[in-house]
């Protein structure tokens, strides 16, 4: 007892010293970029600009080679185009927008290194002679035909470190790897500018290189499916609001009115999340990780509704009911039309067959499993692996594995390896 009393103050003192990590994005305001003379970058030039670039300056930050890729999100009739740079080093990425100023292309970006808290501004240009002329021409781009030059800064400092990219080759051909973003983009601990499992994160996902998202589905006390990972309301996922305990104890009205995610967003309903995917993004896959343990009928009805809506918009969006355990599998098999309901099963291949799942999804810690992957391919199914974040193993799985998709907290890293493949 005496010992415990002596230890307690020491414990309190040292735990109080625990560092809270943050990575607030710098203010990207750039007078030149937002001046009245600038115009949007046309989609043709965007497409021609995409490619694998050699890093002539700035390799400390992003490695020797990067991938430049454009993406878009749509809100109503407005389409916003973003340019991203995916890197194989430091789990780094850059994201921003581009505009012409006369015949110079300006890129106004920020950078992040996801393994730590590194962030900063990056301002780049492509001059007419340095690449815009090539982007506007009909000639195939050759090596060094586009040179992106500028500088990056650290934290809120103005960019002062040289950053130069030289076009090397087009993006990998026939790239059909599905890049799945965990919790719609990444965990809260990855310190992204949006909260995990939020609508804002869904909109961010294409900029992170994702072609699909994984989201966690739970039920409120009044039966509304919402997107939320943890079983409880806690300070990891939400801002302090006085509510705690199992999320299933609260009605949707209570959650909607009183609870805000860690970056201030609302907890979205499954309907809102699927509507965002279908109507606002080019994402092609949704992996609904089912955390609820009761009937899946409500999920199946929403799934059917949004698959139909996507089809009516001319889009092929695979909305999959994720089956992580035997309980969810049993509830899925209890659905009257389960054989026609697109699903993803994390269990044995025999379970995948029983559920007629479109995708088999084993944990990455089981290894490459090339024989098993070949087996499911032979059955006309796909194989995704989860949740692969280790950079060395990402490379290993890309080079020696045959998975059709990789779920990761670092979609930028997966995208880099997917598009930079020789």
């Amino acid at each position: 007892m005496r010992s415990a009393l002596h230890i307690a103050p020491f414990l309190l003192l040292l735990t109080a010293c625990q560092k809270e990590y943050e990575a607030p994005l710098p203010n990207t305001s750039w007078d030149l970029f937002s001046s009245t003379g600038t115009t949007p970058v046309d989609t043709r030039a965007q497409g021609r600009m995409e490619g694998v670039y050699a890093v002539a300056q700035g390799a400390d930050l992003v490695g020797d080679e990067v991938v430049v890729k454009w993406s878009s999100t749509q809100v109503g009739m407005d389409t916003t185009y973003h340019v991203s740079i995916f890197c194989g080093t430091n789990i780094a990425y850059l994201s921003g927008e581009g505009r012409y100023l006369d015949s110079t292309l300006l890129l106004n970006m920020y950078w992040r290194t996801l393994a730590n808290t590194g962030t900063g501004l990056c301002r780049l240009t492509i001059t007419y002679g340095g690449g815009v002329r090539a982007l506007w021409s009909n000639e195939p781009l050759g090596a060094d035909s586009v040179r992106i030059t500028g500088a990056y800064g650290i934290d809120a400092d103005l960019p002062d470190r040289p950053f130069t990219l030289h076009y090397r080759r087009p993006l990998a051909q026939a790239n059909d790897l599905v890049v799945l973003a965990h919790r719609c983009g990444g965990r809260n601990s990855d310190l992204l500018p949006a909260s995990e499992n939020s609508l804002e994160m869904i909109r961010l996902a294409p900029r992170l290189g994702a072609t699909g998202v994984e989201m966690d589905v739970r039920l409120t006390s009044d039966g509304v499916p919402v997107i939320y990972h943890d079983e409880t309301l806690n300070d990891r996922t939400i801002r302090p609001c006085g509510l705690f305990g199992p999320i299933g104890n609260y009605s949707y009205a209570q959650l909607n009115g009183l609870v805000r995610l860690i970056n201030g967003e609302r907890i979205p309903t499954l309907r809102e999340a699927l509507a965002a995917v279908v109507n606002e993004t080019p994402l092609a896959y949704v992996w609904m990780d089912i955390k609820l343990t009761g009937s899946l009928e409500v999920i199946r009805n929403i799934q059917r509704e949004y698959i139909t809506q996507a089809q009516s918009s001319g889009r092929d969006v695979h909305i999959l009911i994720g089956l992580p355990a035997q309980e969810q599998l049993s509830n899925f098999l209890a659905l009257p039309d389960h054989a026609n309901a697109p699903s993803l099963c994390e269990l044995e291949i025999s379970d995948v067959q029983a559920a007629n799942s479109e995708v088999w999804a084993p944990r990455w810690t089981l290894g490459l499993q090339n024989a098993e992957v070949a087996q499911v391919h032979g059955q006309g199914r796909k194989a995704f692996v989860w949740t692969l974040d280790q950079p060395d193993y990402v490379q290993e799985f890309m080079q020696a594995g045959n998975f059709d998709g990789i779920l990761s907290n670092y979609p930028t890293l997966i995208a880099y390896h997917a598009y930079a493949r020789p």
Binding site: S3, I7, L61, A115
Partner: protein, 262 residues
């Protein structure tokens, strides 16, 4: 140019600073050791050696050639890795000390969990600064190994660590032994096997540091007990290898030690 001392730094700064910090910490350890040698000698000559049974308390141990304790160490994972589930990993702790000569002794320790185990061995040199204060310096080399052939995992790992450290002891008049210990956690290398794919990491860098506070006190008859609390600030803790965390940030891992000194 080095960035100001903030946690938001350029990644390249991390790489450079690891080497700088490692070198600086090594220099500090050497200086501290050298500074204490003459002082300790001056004081120790006039100080009676006091018999005690502490395992972490720095002591010359000339009256106890062997010391043995059995107990448990519990590690708690960080929420950035295991999120709402704060995993507590208990390990059986077998700790042996063997006095060698003039304040030098061997320190051997096994932390066993079955699926993953950690064994360390190293030298200590301890001296009495006066009747109440003692000091020791030492270095342990550790080897750990893990094997997870459980559902969803087909993984093995093993690695080498190095733990140079300093301890300061204070003996109260009520025969309570207080010890403050600071150790560097150096990850020499480790190897991970997932399925049939092996990756080797020859890091050889300072992963972090650990700060411990131990109280050792009489318990029953001639036995003592140890109660300890450790905070490890590190970007790699061997006991959490199977979580495959990827953060290049120092996270806080509390550890609680309880042991019966036999």
């Amino acid at each position: 140019m080095d960035h100001p001392l903030t946690h938001r730094v350029h990644p390249a700064w991390y790489a450079q600073s690891f080497e700088k910090r490692r070198s600086a910490l090594r220099s500090l350890m050497v200086l501290a050791s050298v500074a204490f040698v003459p002082m300790a000698r001056l004081v120790a000559q006039d100080t009676a050696v006091v018999h005690n049974l502490g395992m972490f308390f720095p002591d010359r141990r000339e009256h106890d050639p062997w010391n043995l304790s059995l107990g448990f160490v519990t590690y708690t994972t960080h929420e950035d890795i295991t999120e709402e589930v704060r995993v507590r990993i208990p390990a059986l702790d077998v700790h042996v000390l063997r006095h060698l000569h003039k304040g030098f002794y061997l320190d051997g320790r096994l932390l066993a969990q079955g699926v993953q185990n950690h064994v360390s061995a190293g030298f200590r040199w301890a001296t009495h600064l006066n009747d109440q204060f003692t000091f020791s310096v030492g270095d342990d080399v550790a080897y750990w190994r893990g094997n997870l052939p459980i559902q969803g995992f087909d993984c093995k790992a093993r690695g080498w660590m190095n733990y140079p450290g300093l301890s300061f002891g204070y003996r109260s008049k009520r025969d309570l032994l207080f010890t403050l210990q600071a150790r560097m956690l150096i990850t020499t290398n480790y190897e991970v096997l997932v399925g049939d794919r092996k990756r080797t990491y020859n890091t050889d860098r300072v992963s972090g540091s650990a700060y411990s506070f131990y109280v050792e006190q009489p318990f029953f008859k001639r036995s003592y007990i140890t109660l300890g609390f450790t905070l490890a600030y590190t970007n790699f803790l061997w006991a959490t290898w199977s979580l495959f965390e990827t953060f290049d940030r120092n996270l806080l891992y509390p550890q609680i030690t309880t042991a019966l000194i036999l």
